[in-house]
């Protein structure tokens, strides 16, 4: 039987990709459906949608398409517009998510602390648990949930 759902917020950065891979691995291990979400900046209400806004959306769709293809069949994709935390929380609520996975950055090179203001914002925006993927700079053991089965590390 199909389990629940994991929603993963991604970006074009290696850390965004790292989050997607962790989400895929978690999904595969726990039998969860994976929904990748890319949030782009919104256009203020009452203003015309600019060319750059459309380009950002097109770029986000392309990134998602590429990631979903690399992660394998069954990965769903959504592009959202607006504030990252609010948009991720909204998708998670709409998809009935059990878990949200997001990426992070190290506070400094080799630092143990992670910088993830998104996690703090999500705390207020959603009751769904949030998993913060470690940044790509951090070395991880192969047997850990770092890379999804059958997915090649770029």
């Amino acid at each position: 039987m199909m389990g629940g759902t994991v929603v993963c917020g991604v970006t074009e950065t290696p850390d965004g990709r790292s989050a997607a891979e962790l989400a895929r691995a978690l999904g595969a291990r726990l039998g969860l459906r994976l929904v990748l979400v890319h949030v782009v900046d919104g256009v203020p209400p009452g203003t015309q949608e600019s060319l750059s806004a459309r380009q950002r959306q097109a770029g986000a769709e392309q990134t998602l398409h590429q990631m979903a293809r690399d992660l394998g069949d069954g990965t769903e994709k959504r592009v959202m517009v607006g504030n990252r935390a609010d948009a991720l929380a909204r998708v998670a609520a709409e998809e009935g998510a059990d878990l949200i996975v997001i990426g992070s950055r190290p506070t400094r090179l080799g630092g143990r602390k992670l910088r993830c203001t998104l996690a703090r914002d999500l705390e207020a925006a959603t009751p769904i648990p949030v998993v913060v993927a470690p940044p790509t700079t951090r070395k991880r053991a192969d047997h850990r949930l770092a890379v999804a089965p059958g997915v090649a590390t770029p």
């Binding site: 039987m1 199909m2 389990g3 629940g4 959306q57 986000a60 769709e61 769903e76 994709k77 959504r78 592009v79 959202m80 517009v81 607006g82 504030n83 609010d86 948009a87 929380a89 909204r90 998708v91 609520a93 709409e94 998809e95 009935g96 059990d98 705390e123 207020a124 925006a125 959603t126 009751p127 769904i128």
Partner: protein, 312 residues
Amino acid sequence: MRVSRLPLLWRVFAINAALLVVATLLLALTPVTIHARIAIVEGLDLAVALVVMLAANLVLLRHTLRPIHRLVERMRKLDLLQPGQRIPEQGGVEVAELTHTFNEMLERLETERRESGQRALRAQEAERRRIASGLHDEVGQVLTGVLLRLDDDETKQAVRQALEEVRRIARELRPEMLEQLGLVSALTELSRKFAESSGVRVERNFATDLPPLSDDAELAVYRVAQESLTNIARHAHASRVEIALQPGADSVVLRVTDDGRGIPSPDASALNGHGGLRGMRERALLVGGALAIKRGSEGGVEVRLEVPAGER
């Protein structure tokens, strides 16, 4: 005791007191003199000191009051159609207390909204049943009587069409099949009628091992499917629709996917006020479900509703 735990009044007082102490110490310990008849240089010194003190005061107070601004910002963003949002109880004593009270108020609001929404939906369904009975039993009977007395074929055809239309409306208002034969049969019948009337090819994919649903959840699934098909007929220009019912994690998942012209914006939340989508969201919310309206994987639109399983 940490400074951030101090009441706001004492934090503001401490900031102002600290600045005054610094100013007094500067006056006492530096060779600054102010004559009764103030000189230009002395006036400049005083002005610079005043500006520095005011700037420091502003910076420190802004930092102290930031949790309140953050709280206001989060309060503004809260969406009651997305329950469960709670603001972390951080900041000074007053802010934490205010946040706690606001979270409690949200709890009460969500409960009240859920209960009043359920009452409204039940009343709406009861009213629909009453109108459907009236249409079927009274208007239908009258039209049947008229039909039997008519001789003119053209008029008979018109009355037959009116009778059929009345029956169709009554069926849409009161899903008898749902009450009598269950969700799968009702959705099969609904999609069959939709295919007949719209000419759109419908593919059904209903699992046989679905967990049981409460009456309210079954009705929500049926109404969302009905509304989705109505939207497809009206707006999508689709040639194919897939309607699927699958088991989820202690839940049932309905998916209605079309191959039509899709959503102009990738973010379907822009459509929330259109096509009965808000009503669908309300229905999903009231049975503890999750509704997503998004671009389909191969174009078109996908409506996904997940409702929790539960005994009837």
